[in-house]
């Protein structure tokens, strides 16, 4: 047997975890078809219906006072509740992962509570706590600070529903990173705050960013809890999701879907922002993971 015959018949080896080409393509196609039916098609449908009467009609519906107020309210709610929840989430994750104490498991369950409680129930809880007929709510209303059917109630409801996003994203990352780097910084003479800002925060920044983006998407999209608490007063306490629902119930489909398209675009912008950041800091992300 000569050398050339060995070279002429190369054997293609497949690694143990690699599937056959047929299986690979089958799964890729399956995933794409599934995604198209479940995600892409409905998203496209929203834009198609929104533009059914032309761009002008769509824009006109968005220019009405109610629509503008709804957009303004939703952005304001997100701008207030997301930063607050980012701070609470970091504090909770820090507390849970850096200290050992009794009742830790209970605290983690509490953080998860908003995931398991229906948003409508959460909204009702806030109405019971702060409504005009409650002790606290009655006093607050009497002193000119209404919670329910007003902005504070909507913020409370949004914060309750979106509370777990940041903490849930941070806890596994912080557990995996351990306490050694923080301890090292302490032995080098750094104060607690300095350790947090120069060691902890840089190490969790990506997880924090994902958490904040998820939190933001949900804060803008929350319907159930806000619908109960806000009273859906048009031009005052109706957010984008509740306004969309009301317009749809009134068969104003162009108006409803135009506003829905704006909401979807806000979500897409957050996603694009995340991807752009990932591409820009790809080398940094790789360094963090390799270490």
């Amino acid at each position: 047997m000569s050398d050339t015959s060995l070279i002429a018949t190369p054997t293609r080896f497949r690694s143990a975890t690699e599937e056959s080409p047929a299986a690979r393509w089958g799964m890729i196609i399956f995933a794409f078809v599934g995604l198209s039916i479940l995600v892409f098609a409905p998203l496209i449908a929203v834009f198609v219906v929104a533009l059914a009467d032309g761009v002008a009609a769509s824009l006109k519906s968005l220019a009405t006072r109610d629509a503008r107020e709804a957009i303004r309210l939703t952005l304001t709610i997100a701008a207030i509740s997301v930063p607050l929840n980012a701070i609470f989430g970091v504090a909770a994750a820090w507390f849970i992962t850096k200290f050992d104490f009794r009742g830790k498991a209970f605290l983690i369950t509490l953080i998860d509570l908003p995931f398991s409680v229906s948003p409508v129930v959460a909204g009702l809880c806030i109405v019971l706590m702060f409504g005009t007929n409650s002790l606290v709510g009655g006093w607050l209303v009497a002193n000119g600070y209404p919670i329910v059917f007003a902005m504070p109630g909507i913020i409370l409801a949004t914060m309750f529903v979106t509370f777990p996003f940041v903490a849930r994203e941070l806890i596994p990352v912080m557990i995996e990173q351990g306490r050694a780097e923080e301890e090292a910084a302490l032995t080098l003479g750094a104060s607690g705050w300095r350790v947090f800002f120069t060691v902890t925060l840089p190490n969790i920044r990506w997880a924090l960013l994902y958490g904040v983006l998820l939190c933001n998407a949900r804060a803008m999209g929350e319907f159930g809890a806000v619908a109960v608490v806000s009273g859906k007063i048009r031009g005052q306490t109706a957010t984008m999701p509740t306004t969309i629902e009301m317009l749809y119930q009134e068969y104003l489909s162009v108006a409803a879907f135009s506003l829905a398209a704006v909401l979807a675009m806000l979500a897409l912008v957050t996603l694009l922002l995340k991807t752009a950041l990932e591409i820009r800091h790809a080398d940094q992300l790789a360094t963090m993971r390799r270490h």
């Binding site: 780097e181 003479g189 104060s191």
Partner: protein
Amino acid sequence: MHIEIDEISKQFGTTAALTPVSLAIPSGALVALLGPSGSGKTTLLRILGGLEFPTAGRVLFDGADATNLTVQERRAGFVFQSYALFRHMTVFENIAYGLNARPRAQRPARAEIVRRVTKLLELIQLPDIGARFPSQLSGGQRQRVALARALAIEPRMLLLDEPFGALDAKVRKELRQGLRDIHDTTGLTTVFVTHDQDEAMELADLVVVMSMGKIEQVGKPADIRAKPATPFVREFIGA
């Protein structure tokens, strides 16, 4: 600096990590805390560094009670088992961290920090790696950077937790000599934790053999080899 450990005990919940132990470490000595895992050697080291506080007993630095000093006040150069380098900072920033963390009045000027870090990089014989990130270093290089970072704060003592644990045999031998040299140059009282009796015997002036939260024997390597005090020591050092 002379270190005295006076009847220190430590409880974690219901388990005793250290039953009262006492030990005097002479100034400038290179001491090994030797023992199997769970013997309490790392707990003792962390108590010295102020990362753990004893349930009872006292720690004295140069005769002064240091039991309640915070970790920052102790100024102990601590090298962690997996080095705990700051992964998002360059080697230079890692070493400069302790100097930058000082209160403004005591912080050296920028040029002085650069000068000191450069000097430390020369001391660990890695003068050209200042701009790299920890993930771009080998295990042996990381360990040396961790040592330089600990030395940068001008520590009163050097504490090392299994400093050679994560390295292969050849690098381990080289770095042993490196630690000996740095100890001899700086003259710092140095305590390191190890479970490797060869390492302890070869490197240390004084070996402290520990088991189950107790000190079994303290002595020069030759004395421990010649006269093991207990059956445990005899078996552990394989004499």
